[in-house]
């Protein structure tokens, strides 16, 4: 009948197979409008299925308006449904698999192999088991109170920062916090000041939202705040604890200048404290936030400290922005899932978190020393490192060298992943003699081999 082929072992029920076949014929015009639909008895016999099955299929077609039945008249194909067939689907963009790098100095990647998987798993299972049913429903845009409380305690014991748990808003990571802020602050200003160079991915978040970017140059001490003001009164994005990518610590007078700028212009400072947990000499730097909680939005993340896939970060939000933040989050992605939040709260509560940071700080510090020694072994004295002894990457200057986008692509093709610092520049060319070495995710041998390989490569290709 009508050339319908039924597959009796399919996951799709027979009635739905009949429905789909008839529907497609109607849409494609093979069953023209007004055509009489055979009786269910005849269809059942021809297709060798029960009348009940056919009736269910016809019911579906009828309910969805493909066929029209009226009292006393035969059932017919409805009007106005025929469509030209879709054009051939556009080809899918070819997705490249991750290339296999012989040396991989990418930045922003913590050591995943040393994460205490088992402890995390146990905590996850326990918190999942003890979770109330109410937490499976909507629990609001701010995040679990237990986690906010633990973050507040941790900010105090690790950075001496007093923050009320009620001012903390959980997000799906730092990028997400910035994305919410970008939407939130856009109503007041469509311009934003950004360090140059900066994390170009974070910059992209603001560009995507339609912001006009005002670059502020960076020196060894971070953002040169005397460039602020005049042209624009927009918010300022800054990484004061460890400038990305140059590594400076913003000094007190510039911090005070930022606060004065924000107060004068009724604007905000966005403080991205992306990896301040890992400082290898002295204590972690105190957040700018403490200087004026009404003018600074402090953004923190657990991606670098624990693992990126956790997708938990937070913002300490000035009170006058909190209501808008909550509403905006509700209409963006509603809330974080509660499971990782509960597990992380427990991880903090039991201080497993502090111990993990202590352990990793030691390991990352050693790896940093290996990197510095390897650079010295291979490059002698023809380089200097920038910035504070902190974080998971090192910015290195090679006087006279020039590392541009072509260099980045060429090295990648040759299975070396290394980022020219200029990649993160807004105004290109000012930092073309610097390379960024991410080392946190590499074992000492991987670092040594990678530097050896890179040195040979640079020599062979005339970059040195």
């Amino acid at each position: 009948m009508w050339g319908i082929k039924l597959y009796r072992n399919s996951d799709v029920s027979l009635k739905r197979q009949i429905y789909l076949a008839v529907r497609d014929m109607i849409v494609q015009g093979n069953l023209p409008p007004g055509e009489v639909v055979p009786s269910s008895r005849q269809l059942a016999r021809d297709l060798n299925v029960s009348r009940a099955t056919v009736n269910e299929a016809l019911d579906m077609l009828n309910v969805e308006g493909y066929i029209v039945s009226s009292q006393g008249a035969p059932t017919r194909v409805a009007q106005g449904i025929m469509l030209d067939p879709p054009t051939d689907a556009a080809p899918r963009t070819q997705k490249e698999g991750p290339p296999d790098f012989a040396a991989d100095f990418r930045t922003g990647q913590p050591e995943l192999r040393l994460f205490p998987r088992y402890a995390w798993q146990q905590i996850s299972s326990e918190t999942l088991g003890g979770m109330s049913s109410a937490l499976l429903g909507y629990t609001g845009p701010q995040g679990l109170p237990a986690l906010r409380n633990e973050i507040s305690l941790w900010l105090y014991r690790s950075k001496g920062l007093s923050v009320d748990a009620q001012d903390i808003y959980i997000t799906a990571g730092a990028t997400h916090a910035l994305s919410i802020l970008a939407d939130l602050l856009y109503r007041e200003s469509q311009e934003i000041w950004f360090e140059d160079p900066c994390n170009i991915e974070m910059l992209q978040t603001f560009i995507n939202k339609g912001y006009r970017i005002r670059p502020v140059p960076v020196d060894e001490c971070g953002m040169q705040t005397d460039h602020l003001g005049g042209q624009s009164s927009g918010p300022v994005y800054v990484t004061p604890s460890h400038q990305f990518p140059l590594g400076g610590i913003l000094p007190a007078d510039r911090r005070a200048a930022l606060i004065r700028y924000a107060r004068t212009n009724d604007s905000y400072i966005i403080e991205d404290d992306y990896d301040s947990e890992f400082r290898y000499y002295g204590d972690s730097v105190s957040p700018l936030y403490a200087m004026d909680p009404d003018r600074v939005v402090y953004v923190g993340t657990f991606s670098k400290v624990l693992f990126p896939a956790l997708r938990i970060g937070y913002a300490v939000v000035p009170r006058q922005l909190q209501q808008s933040w909550g509403r905006l989050r509700t209409h963006t992605d509603v809330q974080n899932p509660p499971f990782e939040q509960a597990a992380l709260a427990e991880f903090l509560h039991t201080r497993k978190f502090d111990r993990h940071i202590g352990k990793m700080r030691k390991i990352y510090g050693e790896r940093r020393q290996v990197l510095l020694a390897s650079l010295h072994d291979q490059f002698g004295d023809d380089w200097r490192s920038w910035g504070d002894a902190a974080g998971l990457h090192l910015a290195v200057e090679f006087p006279g060298a020039c590392f541009d986008e072509a260099f980045r692509q060429r090295t990648r093709q040759d299975r070396i992943r290394i980022t020219p610092l200029d990649y993160h520049s807004i105004q290109k060319g000012l930092h073309a003699n610097k390379l960024l070495f991410g080392y946190g995710h590499l074992e000492p041998d991987e670092i040594r081999d990678g530097i050896m390989l890179l040195h040979a490569y640079l020599k062979d290709h005339g970059y040195l």
Copy 2:
């Protein structure tokens, strides 16, 4: 010394306490610029701590630029740091606790008490244990391949919909998918067609992004597609399987009209299939997506089927939009966490998902019957229900009644949560005689008691 008080049992180290105290005095101007800092020996003696502790505190102050030491000269307080104290923090917005409702007919809330917690917990633990370390890192914006694959299989077996797993993009729920789409499509059109009435929360997502809204009236069969075109060529948001909130199934000719509109205007149809899993008569309605995968973005969610806090939804994205989608997601919130994705994939794979839906469809169907019977018991024949026998809510018309925003607020104060349908209207007043009853989360007795209470309330307050 300087009135510094140290707390020896604090979580904050002594060196940081000294640092914080001195820093605050400098910022507040109590230690003026140029003031000589006492020697570490003197400070140590006065504060009764070790010289090493004082030196570490002074190091921090020095590194962060609060004090300046130079060879052969005494250490002094740096210039330009003094700030006026912050104005008193803005009062925090009072957050109301969830009120305790005597009758709670809110919509969009599944029954959480019957979710198979134990099975989910077991699957979560197992998948967490078996997860590779690589999944703790960044795994890209599209979502876990295993989950996309299982969703593809499930769409086929439950709706007869053929979708390549490579065209599925995981999101943090339906709202999140719409939020990404709103950003993505804004580049091409700043207007969007919306059903009126619609889910007013979803509408808000587009309003927040700056869209101009073009309302399209809805009748018992869903969106009246003959209103499209002319003024605008923007995308169309539609709920064809079960119009929210009126409950109609969009008939085939209007579906074809939507496709023709999108083709003619080089635009897109956003199909929100928010609760099509629960249909109590016949099979679930086939998605519009099948008619033209290049013109329809299909949005699905697991919030209603499993539980809202899961925060997993998905979109089936036309190929020409996929690259932009991936880039945008990367700069918004990067990706979903992998844990729930892996657990959900396994839940689908083992068909525990299908069994849960089957079980809940039966329970929700019974509750719907209880609701209809209770309405009949209390209100006699003075009402009629709208829409198809599907979903987790019922739209009920009470001829002659008028339920407005004042009614909504008044009932809430009187501990009855019920939504006037007009709340979800763009043009207010057209549906003022209808109420929405969410029933999925209520046990039969709760439904009966709630309807009795509501009936008495409406009588007492002159609404009937």
